[in-house]
Structures are given as structure tokens and as C-alpha cells.
Subunit: 449 residues, 2 copies
């Protein structure tokens, strides 16, 4: 028998916690024998001392065991999901889930709402009239079976210990810990029941991880955790120094996603989406792995797993991806043909000089969109469907002094002042140029097997 103080002191002093210790901790926490103040002291000790691979595996398993695990065995297609660590203008899920579904996989995407300057996928979808993000497990399975993909809220039964720990970390300054982030993300994704998972780990000013080395460490930690729980897992590191695509907000991102599914998506958004789609299909066994020299896309090889349907570019070009999107929205109660909410007020931010736009800072744009009403400060807050920002120019493009670079949209005009204040210094224009083009995809972290 152990007790909370013994465990806290052991971790504080740098000793690893045993499997028995960790299982006892989560069970005692659920029973109320370990108090929130004890758990928060332990979380701070973990912030300083970390969790080794064995501790992390058990910690994650204990969070999964705290609730139910979705049973996807009735789904006949291979299941594969994507998780993003969050970025500004990151509407990739809205395009990717139907796109991968159209290519023959099933995408069970249990998602979250936004908090702070990065938007939430569910908040975006809820700007579609009638769309329901809250589904029962049976409804989730039914939408997945009929549309090939589902994007809904993770129910209260999935990894409830993670929900409780996350709320505690949020108020105790213990969010920024790689093992705690990795176990939080992976416990939910593993409990969701997917067989394969691709992680989009964002790096840059608008991302949770601002250093590439930290992002890589987080990605590797999560890939290893997935492997240990029999989920085929890989990761991409992608840039988040400037918004992805041109729209930042809720309805505006839905509109841009539909354009992307119609074949008119901005280049950076499409590059990230297609890179993720290809890896998801590879992990699902439906597409050659572009990073594996032993897995060439060879149509003459009878063992080559490529399904001719599993070409994402073709699935956009021939309308299958858009059809899957419309089927999913309808299956979740939404009307894909209904007009999206429009903001009552707009204002423009002009370029300060003529030249090449070299910087349009993701954090500043995300914060401005948040202040316009697109995001929430507390989880009880409502968000505005119509508020947001359109990037009329992106880094690498030429602008004239006074030409509008950003269009700000809000329901109330008094939102513009605080939003414009967040954008102070967010733009840089240079006469040197054009800047060399950069790919938004930085690095691929292979699955461990």
C-alpha cells in the first residue's frame, strides 16, 4: 500500500513511479482519496522531473482505463484519425476527414472546442445551421458507417481522468509538460478506438510548441505511446508562423474548407492537407508510404496495397471528397446548402508600406480573431459564428502601401479596437524580395514499426 504523499515525494526527488503506484493513484483519485491539491503538486513535480517511457505508458493506460473505449469493430473499413496540436486558421480536419473517407478509410474524429487563440474544429462546424457536435456513441458509429467520417465531441465517458486532470493543469500552470501533453492527447485518441493515427504537430509563433526540437520530442513521445497501445501512429511537423490558408474564424473557415473540397484551396492549406491524407492512407494500408523506399507506388505489383480510389488529389478533382463532406454534415443534422452566418461589421487593415509581405504573425492574427469573438476565454463562453479575419495577402505576396491586408469581421463594432491592438506589429513589409518560398511541411516522424 502506498499513499499520495509518498508518491509525490518520490517523483519530486526524481524516482520513477511503478505501474502499481500509478494505477493506485488514478483509482484513489477517482475515489476521492487523493485530493486535487495533491494531484496538482504531483503534476508540478512531473513538470520538473518528467515521466519515463514506462511511467508514461502506464499513466496513459490509467487515463484510458478511467472510462470507456469506443468499439469500432463494426466498421468494416480501416479506421484512421488525425490530431492537430492546434494552430491559427487550422481548418484541416474539415477537409481531411471527408477526403480520407472518400479514399476508402473510416475517419472517427472525436474533437474539442477552442480555448484561447486557436480555434476549435467543433466551433467551426457548429456555424453550419443545424450541425450537431454532441452525438451518442451509437450516433457516432452510425454517422461513421454511413458517411465514412464523423467529427463530433468526445463524450464524457472517454478518458474522464484526462478531462479532470486537464482542468487542473489549466489552473495550476502545469499545461506545458511534454509527457502530460502526450498522455492527454493519446489517451483520448486511443480511447476513441482508431486503429491508426497521424499527428500534426505545429511549430511556430501561433503554435503551442515554438521550438522545432520540442515539437519533435512531443511527436516522438506520442508516436511511441501509440505504438505501445497498438495504434499505428506517425507525425508530421508543420509550420505555424502565419495562419494556414486565408480564413481565420468559424464560418469563414467552413467556407474556405468547402472551397478547398471544390478544388480551390490555398496552396499552403492544400499542401498540409494532402501530406496528412497520404500518411493516413498509408497507415490505413490503402496507399503506398511516400516515406518508405520499400513501399513504392507500383501499379504492376500485385502486392502493392494501393487502392486506385485512394488518391486524394483525384478524390477532390472528381467531387467524391465534397460529397463525403456533405453526407457527414447532413448525417449530423446540418444543412450544407444553408447560407453561413455573416458578420454585421467589417474593417480593413492596410499594408503599412509597399513591398513584399514578409511576416503575418500567426499568434497576433489568432489573438485578434479571438478578440473579434471567434474564440472563447473561458470554456463556458459562447463563440461568434461570423466573427473572424480574412487574410487578403499572405507572406511572399507583393502589397502596395494602403492596400488592405486583413479584413476583420465582428458582430459588434467595439470589438475592432482590441483586435487591431493585437495586430500591432504583426505585419512586416520589405523591399527586398520576393522571399524564398517555404514549404509548410517540415518533417515526418515515422511510425516506430
Amino acid at each position: 500500500m502506498t499513499d499520495a504523499v509518498t508518491l509525490i515525494r518520490a517523483k519530486r526527488d526524481g524516482y520513477p513511479l511503478s505501474d502499481t503506484d500509478i494505477r493506485w493513484l488514478f483509482e484513489a483519485y477517482a475515489r476521492g482519496e487523493v485530493a486535487d491539491e495533491q494531484m496538482s503538486a504531483l503534476l508540478m513535480a512531473i513538470y520538473f522531473r518528467g515521466l519515463d517511457q514506462a511511467e508514461l505508458r502506464t499513466w496513459t493506460a490509467a487515463m484510458i482505463a478511467s472510462g470507456d473505449r469506443l468499439d469500432l469493430s463494426a466498421i468494416e473499413k480501416p479506421t484512421v484519425d488525425k490530431h492537430s496540436t492546434g494552430g491559427v486558421g487550422d481548418k484541416v480536419s474539415l477537409i481531411l476527414a471527408p477526403l480520407v473517407a472518400a479514399c476508402g478509410a473510416a475517419v472517427p474524429q472525436l474533437s474539442g472546442r477552442g480555448l484561447g487563440h486557436t480555434g476549435g474544429t467543433l466551433d467551426k462546424l457548429e456555424s453550419i445551421p443545424g450541425f450537431r457536435a454532441g452525438l451518442t456513441p451509437a450516433e457516432t458509429l452510425a454517422v461513421l458507417a454511413s458517411a465514412g467520417c464523423v467529427i463530433c465531441a468526445a463524450g464524457p465517458g472517454l478518458a474522464p481522468a484526462d478531462r479532470r486532470l486537464y482542468a487542473l493543469r489549466d489552473v495550476t500552470g502545469t499545461v506545458e509538460s511534454i509527457p502530460l501533453i502526450a498522455s492527454s492527447i493519446m489517451s483520448k485518441k486511443i480511447a476513441e478506438g482508431t486503429s491508426a493515427l497521424v499527428l500534426d504537430v505545429k511549430v511556430g509563433t501561433g503554435a503551442f510548441m515554438t521550438s522545432r526540437e520540442q515539437a519533435r520530442q512531443l511527436a516522438r513521445t506520442m508516436v511511441a505511446l501509440g505504438e505501445e497501445h497498438q495504434v499505428r501512429t506517425a507525425a508530421l511537423l508543420t509550420r505555424m508562423d502565419t495562419p494556414l490558408g486565408r480564413a481565420v474564424g468559424n464560418a469563414v473557415e467552413v467556407a474556405e474548407s468547402v472551397q478547398a473540397l471544390q478544388g480551390h484551396g490555398p496552396a499552403d492549406l492544400m499542401e498540409v492537407t494532402l501530406a496528412l491524407a497520404t500518411r493516413m492512407l498509408a497507415l490505413a494500408g490503402l496507399h503506398a508510404d511516400p516515406d518508405d523506399p520499400d513501399d513504392p507506388d507500383d501499379p504492376d505489383d500485385p502486392d502493392d496495397p494501393d487502392d486506385p480510389r485512394a488518391d486524394p488529389a483525384a478524390a477532390i478533382a472528381d467531387g467524391r471528397a465534397l460529397a463525403a463532406y456533405r453526407a457527414m454534415v447532413r448525417a449530423q443534422g446540418g444543412d450544407p446548402d444553408a447560407p453561413l452566418p455573416q458578420a454585421a461589421h467589417t474593417t480593413l487593415l492596410p499594408a503599412p508600406a509597399s513591398g513584399w509581405l514578409t511576416r503575418l504573425d500567426a499568434l497576433a492574427v489568432g489573438t485578434a480573431a479571438w478578440r473579434l469573438g471567434a474564440g472563447r476565454a473561458r470554456k463556458e463562453d459562447a463563440v461568434s459564428a461570423a466573427a473572424g479575419i480574412i487574410c487578403l495577402a499572405k507572406p511572399g505576396e507583393r502589397v502596395q502601401a494602403g492596400q488592405p491586408v486583413l479584413e476583420l469581421r465582428a458582430d459588434e463594432p467595439e470589438r475592432f479596437g482590441p483586435a487591431l491592438a493585437a495586430l500591432d506589429g504583426a505585419l512586416a513589409v520589405s523591399e527586398q524580395g520576393p522571399p524564398p518560398p517555404v514549404s509548410p511541411v517540415l518533417e515526418y516522424i515515422s511510425p516506430a514499426w
Copy 2:
């Protein structure tokens, strides 16, 4: 305006907290705006990052400001107190307070109860029939004025923030932090209103600090804190590898203290007591400072502050110290002539071999006395007045195999088994000898001015 998460993150990342931050923290904690789980995360961050001298001064001041400060201005004598970090057989306060009072100072000793293997001064005094440790501030002042000394419980109005923080530290593995220990001790002593203070910082197996370097660091931190709050403060480091004196428990320590006041105290106990008494009288301006070459004890120098009454050895020899003890006990409702409680059961632990006793481990003896009933495991527990241990031999003395070394006393005979288990390996006997005598007084840390 700040918030708890910002403060926690700043400390976690190694930045100092400002005066404003710390004052806000304690006020918001008292108002309930900072939750216990946030405070415990901050305490763990402080465990790792520490508090610098400026932070510690403000932290301590905020704990003092959380409650009342006792006003001793009505006391005409210089006030001086002693605090011990706690040891086994440490009944020094019972002898020292009346001794220093007999030498002309006033000793306002607000004390605590024991928890774990070190006994509490109040628990010991409460074995005297009728003795009351809980006094109102007015009663405290009245006893101090009439008897020259008072030993009572710190009321709930003194540094209540320390009381709350200590309870939190106790369950969150954040007790062992030098700045948190120093601020906890000093906030209570400063709030008590004494003008001068001598700290007895114990070092050894039976003490909170087992390393001399750590003990020195704690002593220096507390001496500096005292100075910053206008309390003349000095410290002695003293050994705690073996019990101090021969009695360990409650009534048995009262009996040994009375013997010491009658001039029959064990050498180690008297050496520590007289060393502390001399420093207390020096800080009170009543005695030359034995550590200051510029302050010789010169009876021909009219500026020499020595009061002829201020000789502790004389105050014992002529009965003034014992008289002050009896006056204090009576003023607090106790009967100094009443028989002390006697244990119903005793058992003896014999020497395992013949030779010189080289070790009698303080922690083992303290734990055994605790298991016999002299101490408490939880603060709600009652203690036995009669339970305890008499050390019939001490290190440096010669023993014969089979000769009793310890006499264990308990109210219930089933206590002996667990107590004897704690004593397994606590004794060492060597044929080499006698071991060189060691002084229990290790080091003096001067006041900073």
C-alpha cells in the same frame, strides 16, 4: 493585476515574484480567489526554484500580516525567545524559559505540539496536572508579566496563513524546502512580538536536517529574516544523533527538566541549555556575547552590560530558575507539586554485548517513544502523558552484555512490540574505547548586526 496561473508559471520558470505579486497572492488566497490546488502547485514550484532573499522577506511579511501580532510593549524587561527545529528528548524549553526569566529577561514562548517522532513542548507540559497551554493574548501577557516567562500555544490569530500553508505542505510533499521552513518558523516567532530570538537548529539522524550544510543554510536564512523584521536573531547548530538527556516522552521529560533546574541535569542537556541561555541573554543586552571579542565580560567597565543576576549557572545554583518554573506552571493552572502520571507497564532493552556504547540512534528512540504513545501520528490524536523511554546508558558509557540500556514505559503492554521493532539496530557497542567525548554544540551563527 495578476492572477494565480501567471504567478505559478513565473516561479516554475525561475523568475522571482515581486512584492506586489506575493501580497496579492496571500490576500487572494485568504479571499478564496486562489485555490488550494493552485497554492500547492506554487509550493512545489518553490520547492524546485526556491525563494530569493527579497521574495522570502515579503513572503514572511505576508504571513505575519495575515493575522495579529502580539503587542509586548507593556512588558518592561527585554523580550527574548528560543525556537528549536525539533529533536528527540529535547526538553530544553522547559528549563531554558524559566532560567532566562530568572536572569532578568522576559521569555514569551509560543510553542507547538509534536507530530511524528519529535515531541512537542506543550504535550510535555500538559502532563503536569492542571496545566493549561491554551491562553488568551491577555492571559499570555499576564503570565509573562508575573512569572517572567510563558509557554503556551500560538493562538489561531497568529499567522493563520502559515497554519493553512503548513497543512497543505504536509499533504503535498512540500515540507522539505528551506525557504518554506524558514518563513513558517519566523512568521510565527515574529508575530509573537519578541525582540530577540535564538534558534536551536538540530542536525543529525533524529533531526529534520540530517546534513550540517543544510542546517547551516536554514539557520542563516532564518537569522537574515529575523534581522529584516527587526528581531535580533542568532542560531546554534546542535547535535541530534542521540537523545538529549536521558528521558524521552512527556511526563518523564518534565521530571528530568525539574531535576535539571535543581542542578542535577545530564551534561549534554545542560551544555545545550546554558549555551542557548548565554546567547539569549547576550541578545537581550543582559550578558556579554561569548562570541564577540569586542564584548568581554568586564566587571570594571561601567559600559559592560552584564547584570550580575544574568548568570545562568548561578540562577540554577541559587534556586531562582526553579522558582521561575514553579511560578510559570502555577500561573498556567498547573500544580508543580502534584505527582506526574506513571506508566502501568515497563520493559527493558538490554545491551547486546559488553563494551563502550558508541551509538544510541535518536530517530530510532524517537520512533519507539512515539509508538509507545508519547507522540501522535495525526494532529487530532491524543498523546499518553506517561509513555516514554529512559536511556539508562548513553553513548560514551561502558555497558555489560545484558545490562539494561533502555527502559520503555507504556500504558498498554501491546505497545512494546512495535516500539522494540523500531529499536532494532539502534544500539552499537564496541570494545574499542572509550570513544572521544563530543560537544553537542556544533556551531554558532551570529546575528547579522
